[in-house]
């Protein structure tokens, strides 16, 4: 009852005064409403402050919020062989990217993504390194070339990973795989070393850069100029629409002088043997084929090769990463003889008619140890042509001795020996063309006459690359014009109707004192194949053309002169390298070939057929 009195009923209370209460209520209403109007006025001031006074500032912030400048990667230029076959293409692919600033827990996201897609084992470390070179709120790629299943799996779960996205891009692809690797090279992920060599702004959107071969050499041409997109993004950073676009300029399309058919012929002819083939057009210095075996498929390198796969390439016999065509160091052996012979003729120490007697053994005055011919019984009297035809060592021992090492060095240097050829594939080795000065510098020792003798047959200190041999022979057959060999044949810039021919520069001209001297040497080389006693006459018959060449055998292990050089019972890795240089057709040379078959044995038997296959492949084709 007490409760009822307290709450529910006015009993025992003062009577209500309606008039007073109405007045009290109205005054409270008026007070409240006045207060309300005051606060509303204050609010309007606040909105006026934000929307008018500070409008500029917030407008700018709003624009910054939504508008982003995004660099657009240019499409890398395509590469074709000389007959227009694509040898480096761009294929649509997908990559996985992370915007680190939008991911709360990087470790966790990597763990989660690892379950969705197969991440490379070094993805985590790689990411830490990569993100340093990206600006904040830029996406950092963590995996390239996702397969369709991975793309689909991520698409389903995409909403669960803010800051992670799968984006389409164009992936470099090399359809001929290992066939062209050593010439063409490949592209790979950009690293800090690469960035030092390029304009970082132009590469902001790019993920790959030429790492070797043509791809590295012509990186600037192939890459193109990156473009810009002004895009509107939502709060997750996803692009809503493109407001403005400055198109990227795609890279130049390149046409290489390489001919896939010739390249394949060389590849096939080498078979399983490690070795190298270089073919050059002696008339313009363009490189028709450049093979180094073994090679490797460059495609895994493009999207990030696994450590295990890389180790497998390293562990495989034959050093697949090594480009023998330009880096291989081979003793030239008898393939140097035509150049030594020409040196003697042009320097006037021998005439074309000069004859030397071969007894099987050649002695230096006062030295009891003989220098041998390959035929123990000797070859009798020989001149320049027959000495080349049957590869008579004694003849060239004598010429070398008469020339002296320094004159020999100076003359041969004009053919490009002992220096890089300047080919447009990076990483070339210079080889060695010995001289007194060179030996003094290198070994702090005087030159001995015996070293001159063996230098006459390309032994001793001489070291050449297959490319150098090809360039030297091209110089010999084209009248002394030494080209810097070029793989690049033509380039098509954006906007060009057709590719513009690019010519190999001339590195030097060997003075021709007497053209007949040059013809004599060439005749000698023709007789190597077509002569009755030619060392490579086993190549006959040829398909309607004449060929000239010279075999060589390079020693792998320095054997005593007395030891039997027959290779049959020597272990394969101790067998000599087989060399052969050749050109054809004899009367109008169109191709020069240099072949090295490692541990092949005799040059005529093992390397000459390879050279012939390459020449056949080139000459069999329709002229362009």
């Amino acid at each position: 009852m007490k409760f009822r009195r307290l709450i529910g009923s006015p009993a025992g209370r003062p009577l209500k005064d309606p008039y007073l209460e109405t007045r009290l209520f109205r005054s409270r209403i008026v007070t409240g409403f006045a207060l309300l109007l005051l606060v509303v006025a204050g609010l309007m001031l606040r909105y006026f402050w934000l929307q008018v006074i500070q409008h500029e500032k917030f407008s700018a912030q709003s624009n910054n919020n939504q508008v982003k400048l995004v660099p657009v990667a240019p499409n890398r230029g395509l590469i074709y062989d000389r007959r227009g076959r694509p040898i480096a293409e761009n294929r649509p692919a997908y990559r996985l990217e992370i915007v680190p600033e939008k991911v709360a827990d990087i470790e966790q996201i990597f763990a989660a993504l690892g379950a969705l897609v197969e991440l490379p084992e070094d993805a985590r470390q790689r990411f830490d390194k990569d993100r340093l070179r990206y600006r904040s709120f830029d996406a950092v790629p963590i995996k390239f070339n996702l397969n369709e299943e991975e793309v689909a799996r991520f698409a389903v779960d995409r909403h669960r990973y803010p800051g992670v996205d799968v984006v389409p891009y164009l992936a470099r692809h090399y359809p001929y795989k290992e066939l062209l690797t050593h010439a063409l090279g490949y592209v790979g992920r950009i690293d800090e070393n690469d960035l030092a060599t390029v304009d970082p702004v132009n590469y902001r959107a790019s993920t790959h850069i030429g790492k070797s071969g043509i791809e590295k050499q012509y990186e600037a041409r192939l890459h193109g100029r990156s473009g810009m997109e002004k895009v509107e993004t939502n709060v997750q950073g996803r692009v809503i629409q493109v407001l403005e676009r400055q198109d990227p300029q795609h890279g130049d399309d390149l046409v290489l002088a390489l001919d896939i058919a010739v390249q394949q012929a060389a590849w096939a002819a080498l078979g399983d043997r490690p070795g190298s083939v270089v073919a050059i057009n002696p008339n313009d210095g363009s490189v028709l084929a450049m093979v180094s075996k073994p090679a490797f498929d460059p495609n895994p390198f493009v999207y990030g090769i696994s450590a295990a796969a890389y180790q497998a390439i390293l562990d495989a016999p034959g050093q697949a990463l090594f480009n023998r065509a330009i880096q291989g160091s081979f003793e030239p052996g008898s393939t140097l003889k035509p150049f030594v012979g020409l040196a003697a003729l042009e320097e006037g120490v021998a005439t074309r008619d000069r004859r030397v007697f071969s007894s099987g053994k050649f002695f230096l005055p006062g030295v009891s140890r003989p220098y041998r011919d390959w035929n123990e019984r000797g070859h009798g009297w020989v001149n320049i042509e027959s000495a080349l035809e049957i590869s008579v060592n004694s003849y060239f021992y004598q010429l070398a001795l008469d020339l002296g090492i320094d004159r020999m060095h100076d003359f041969l240097a004009q053919f490009g020996f002992g220096q890089i050829t300047g080919v447009d594939v990076p990483g070339e080795a210079a080889g060695i063309l010995p001289s007194r000065a060179w030996k003094r510098e290198r070994f702090k020792q005087p030159w001995y006459p015996g070293e001159t003798v063996i230098a006459g047959i390309g032994q001793g200190f001489n070291v050449v690359t297959p490319l150098q041999l090809a360039v030297a022979l091209a110089t010999l057959v084209n009248g002394g014009q030494r080209f810097e060999p070029r793989l690049l044949y033509a380039a098509k810039q954006p906007g060009d109707q057709r590719a513009q021919r690019i010519w190999a520069p001339v590195g030097g001209q060997v003075p021709v004192r007497d053209a007949e001297n040059w013809q004599a040497v060439q005749q000698g080389l023709r007789r190597v194949i077509h002569g009755p006693a030619g060392t490579a006459r086993a190549l006959l018959p040829l398909d309607g053309y004449e060929m000239a060449g010279k075999s060589g055998t390079a020693q792998v292990v320095q054997m005593s002169q007395d030891q039997d050089k027959q290779s049959s019972d020597v272990a394969a890795n101790l067998r000599h390298h087989a060399l052969f240089i050749a050109y054809a057709p004899f009367d109008k040379p169109a191709i020069v070939v240099a072949v090295v078959v490692e541990h092949g044995g005799g040059g005529s038997r093992e390397a000459a057929p390879v050279a012939r296959s390459v020449i056949d492949a080139w000459l069999a084709q329709e002229p362009e």
Partner: protein, 364 residues
């Protein structure tokens, strides 16, 4: 015929047409902004329109019920409201905070009921008593006020608890609480602040802290305030145009179709839009206060006046929050924000006001 089937106290609706027109205008404007804020999602607009329909039905129904009946229901509604709040304690569910009661078909927030029930019960309490209230009455009124406020704060929903508490304070203020006592209570509240801070949840503290310095956490809790201010500020005089607010379209504004819908409106319609909106609100509030002044009995005028001022508080708190003047408390912009129970409760409240208006000549 029908007339005879209904109880005698049911009368034909006598609506305040100018208030109804202002409400309809505001609701229409709300749907327009909602269409933009939802990313042009007609489903969202349709659902909101349906709720408005339910709300209008409630409005008309309540306008038919004379105030003395409403008064008779008041203590019961209050008791039910308290009971439901207690029930959320036991069986509530919701996003991190157990504000929702799920009855299978209907899901609603019992605190919404309290938004009406508390002013009603206080008006009912003061109605038979001589005003201004004496100390005893004031103390009892505060007990009636604090019980639901504490239950709501526990959910935890500090914003609603404060608003419900404020709606009660408004009734006590309108009842004529002496100014001296008001000053004393305000001082007491100020002293209680540190205590309140102690019992606040971490996220509530964060909201207050980031309100004081939004840049301290630009990607976290400060984000809402920063992005909302950018949206408002970038609107300028006339705004970016309907459907062209980039902050909203690109989803930079958080809660853009609920609590921050005013940011969308400010961005797309500029200061002009905000001014017109506030004008509409002021008109509605003024009209309601006018209705309350017409009422002849204490219950009617206290209920009408407190509903009008509570409505005003919602508007001011929301507009203050969106413009960064107040911390982020979960208060929707009344009649405009997307949200089920809020709009129905509000329209039901206006229904009671209509009832007060319609029955002003028949007061006892």
């Amino acid at each position: 015929m029908i007339r005879r089937l209904l109880p005698a106290w049911i009368s034909w609706p006598r609506l305040d047409w100018s208030l109804l027109a202002a409400l309809m205008l505001l609701l229409g404007l709300g749907l327009l902004v909602l269409y933009s804020a939802s990313g042009e999602d007609p489903d969202v607009v349709l659902r909101q329109a349906m709720r408005i329909g339910i709300g209008l039905l409630a409005l008309i129904t309540l306008s038919l019920i004379p105030p003395h009946i409403l008064r008779a229901w008041s203590p019961w509604l209050y008791a039910i409201g308290l009971g439901l709040l207690a029930a959320t304690w036991v069986m509530g569910e919701g996003k991190g905070a157990d504000r929702w009661l799920d009855f299978g078909v209907v899901r609603f927030q019992p605190s919404e009921v309290m938004k009406l029930a508390l002013p009603m019960v206080l008006a009912w309490f003061f109605h038979p008593r001589s005003l201004p209230p004496n100390l005893q009455m004031t103390a009892i009124a505060f007990v009636l006020l604090i019980a639901p406020a504490l239950l709501i704060a526990r959910q935890p929903d500090l914003g609603t608890a404060l608003l419900v508490g404020i709606s009660g304070c408004i009734v006590i203020f309108l009842a004529g609480l002496k100014w001296r006592w008001i000053a004393g209570l305000v001082g007491l509240a100020a002293l209680a602040m540190p205590g309140l801070w102690m019992v606040m949840h971490e996220y509530q503290k964060n909201r207050v802290l980031t309100f004081l310095d939004p840049s301290s956490d630009p990607l976290g809790t400060g984000w809402n305030i920063i992005q909302s201010k950018i949206a408002v500020g970038s609107g300028g005089w006339t705004g970016k145009g309907w459907l062209h607010g980039t902050q909203s379209r690109l989803e930079y504004i958080p809660e853009r179709h609920t609590d921050f819908i005013l940011a969308v409106l400010s961005e797309e319609f500029g200061l002009l839009g905000v001014g017109l909106l506030l004008l509409a609100y002021v008109f509605i509030i003024g009209r309601c206060l006018y209705i309350s002044s017409l009422a002849k009995d204490t219950f009617s005028r206290l209920l009408a006046g407190s509903l009008a001022f509570t409505f005003a508080v919602y508007v001011l708190v929301n507009a203050g929050m969106v413009s960064g003047l107040l911390p982020v408390v979960g208060v929707p912009l009344p009649l405009v924000s997307y949200g089920g129970t809020s709009i129905v409760t509000l329209l039901a409240g206006f229904g009671m006001l209509m009832s007060v208006y319609g029955h002003r000549r028949f007061m006892r």
